[in-house]
């Protein structure tokens, strides 16, 4: 009996996620938070920022936010963040 040949419908993935290398970290670095504005993570982020400010002082923490949770931050936001911080906390919450 003739064989049936099936085509695979699964799309090849364009970019495989890579784990970032561990970062050197110290509390004297300038810190930024990039809040993703997810509806479920507002309280978590506010608390995170409070904890950071208590640890290093409010002056040392810069806060940024994306308006759209599901889209990358605009270049302009990233540029401003880079001017103000050595490290950034992103992606917490949803």
């Amino acid at each position: 009996m003739a064989k049936l040949v099936l085509c695979d419908p699964v799309g090849e993935v364009a970019t495989a996620a890579k784990r970032s290398p561990a970062l050197h970290w110290s509390w004297d670095q300038r810190i930024a938070t990039l809040f993703n504005n997810h509806v479920s993570s507002h309280r978590v982020w506010r608390r995170l920022e409070e904890l950071l400010e208590a640890q290093v002082g409010a002056q040392a923490v810069s806060t940024f936010a994306k308006e759209n949770t599901f889209a990358p931050a605009p270049e302009e936001t990233i540029s401003r963040l880079l001017e103000k911080a050595d490290v950034a906390i992103v992606g917490v919450g949803a």
Partner: protein, 354 residues
């Protein structure tokens, strides 16, 4: 092309499950001959990409798209409709990454309009959201399988929709051309009347509204529509964004006979679909600090008597005419959207091969 050889149709059906190619419903075995027929009809390079489908960032080559269309049961001529839907979903403002991954229950609603509706037998009448037409069922199904197999929208893994809805199997309706007394949807969206098009909006499942348009005044119909649309727990009420009102043909005719156009209907519903702050604030779905929260569109969100609009901008209310004739009940359906940041209305012209 990655292929698998098997011995029988029965084995092919089971193999689709074991390979994870389907979300639960059986599929048409995507045989090489059926896929080649689709590609030949489209006259495209099988490896040309239409884009990356989020959130997995799968490469939507024509070959993969056609394979999923075959599995859905599409005939080759249905495939340009699916391709238009995919192009629409890949527009940035649709934010497919979020639509696929959100804890919300939205799914892309595909609305087909223009001459293709009759040409391919899309159902735009009785049971428009239900079964009965191969075109609606298979185009909607192909969209879902593409989101599954190329986009990776697996429930509980990447698709975190807590509730989902049945439209995540297939969710395709058509606008009725003969019974629509107003401007066709795709013409409102900038295309020519003789064009055919697909419009996508990410929405909840349809909520039926019995308007009584066969018996009541326009004022009563509008009040009924508005009150049924502005429930305080729906996403659009809380966070804005686009939404779809499917006006049944009897209600459309009743309103058109009283002088309403789509634009004046939108304005009337914007005025009526408002709830007081004292009621809306009891829903803590969105935090007031969120940029999409309803409080940001009010002058004084602390005034308990201030009115919160469902429709922040009239452009956010998509109106289409579909459904069957019935009693004077004048049924319509409302599909709340997602929010101001995504799932927004996108339209693409359907391009057929020469």
């Amino acid at each position: 092309m990655k292929t698998i050889e098997i011995d029988s149709v029965e084995e092919a059906v089971e193999r689709a499950y074991s390979e994870g190619w389907t979300d639960g419903l059986p599929v048409v075995p995507p045989t090489l001959s059926l896929v080649q027929k689709g590609l030949e009809y489209l006259s495209v390079d099988p490896q040309e990409s239409l884009g990356l489908v989020s959130p997995k960032h799968g490469i939507a080559t024509y070959e993969k798209v056609v394979t999923n269309c075959v599995m859905a049961g599409c005939r080759p001529e249905h495939m340009p409709v699916v391709i238009a839907a995919l192009r629409a979903m890949l527009q940035e403002r649709f934010s497919l990454n979020g639509v696929q991954a959100t804890t919300n229950s939205v799914a892309p609603l595909v609305i087909v309009s223009g001459p293709v509706v009759e040409r391919f037998g899309f159902n735009s009448r009785w049971g428009v959201f239900g079964g009965g037409s191969r075109a609606n069922a298979t185009v909607g199904r192909a969209v879902r399988l593409i989101l599954w197999n190329i986009g990776g929208g697996y429930p509980g893994k990447i698709d975190m929709s807590t509730m989902g809805h049945p439209g995540k199997y297939t969710f395709c309706i058509a606008e009725d051309r003969e019974w629509n007394p107003w401007t066709p949807l795709h013409v409102e969206r900038g295309l020519a009347a003789e064009d055919s098009a697909v419009t996508v909006v990410a929405t909840d499942g349809p909520h039926q509204i019995g308007t009584g348009s066969g018996y009541g005044s326009a004022e009563e119909v509008l009040t009924t529509l508005a009150d049924s649309m502005m429930t305080i727990g729906n996403s659009t009420m809380n966070a804005g964004g686009d939404m779809v009102l499917v006006v049944g043909p009897m209600t459309a005719r009743a309103l058109a006979d009283r002088g309403y156009t789509k634009d004046s209907l939108r304005l009337a519903l914007q005025e009526k679909a408002q709830k007081p702050v004292r009621l809306v604030k009891q829903c803590l779905f969105y935090q007031p600090s969120h940029p999409y929260h309803w409080s940001h569109v009010l002058k004084d969100p602390n005034d308990p008597d201030a009115m919160v609009p469902l429709i922040r901008d009239v452009k956010q209310l998509v109106i289409t005419v579909a459904g069957g004739m019935g009693s004077g009940t004048g049924f319509c359906s409302f599909c709340p959207g997602w929010h101001s940041g995504g799932g927004l209305t996108c339209t693409e012209k359907i391009v057929f091969p020469n």
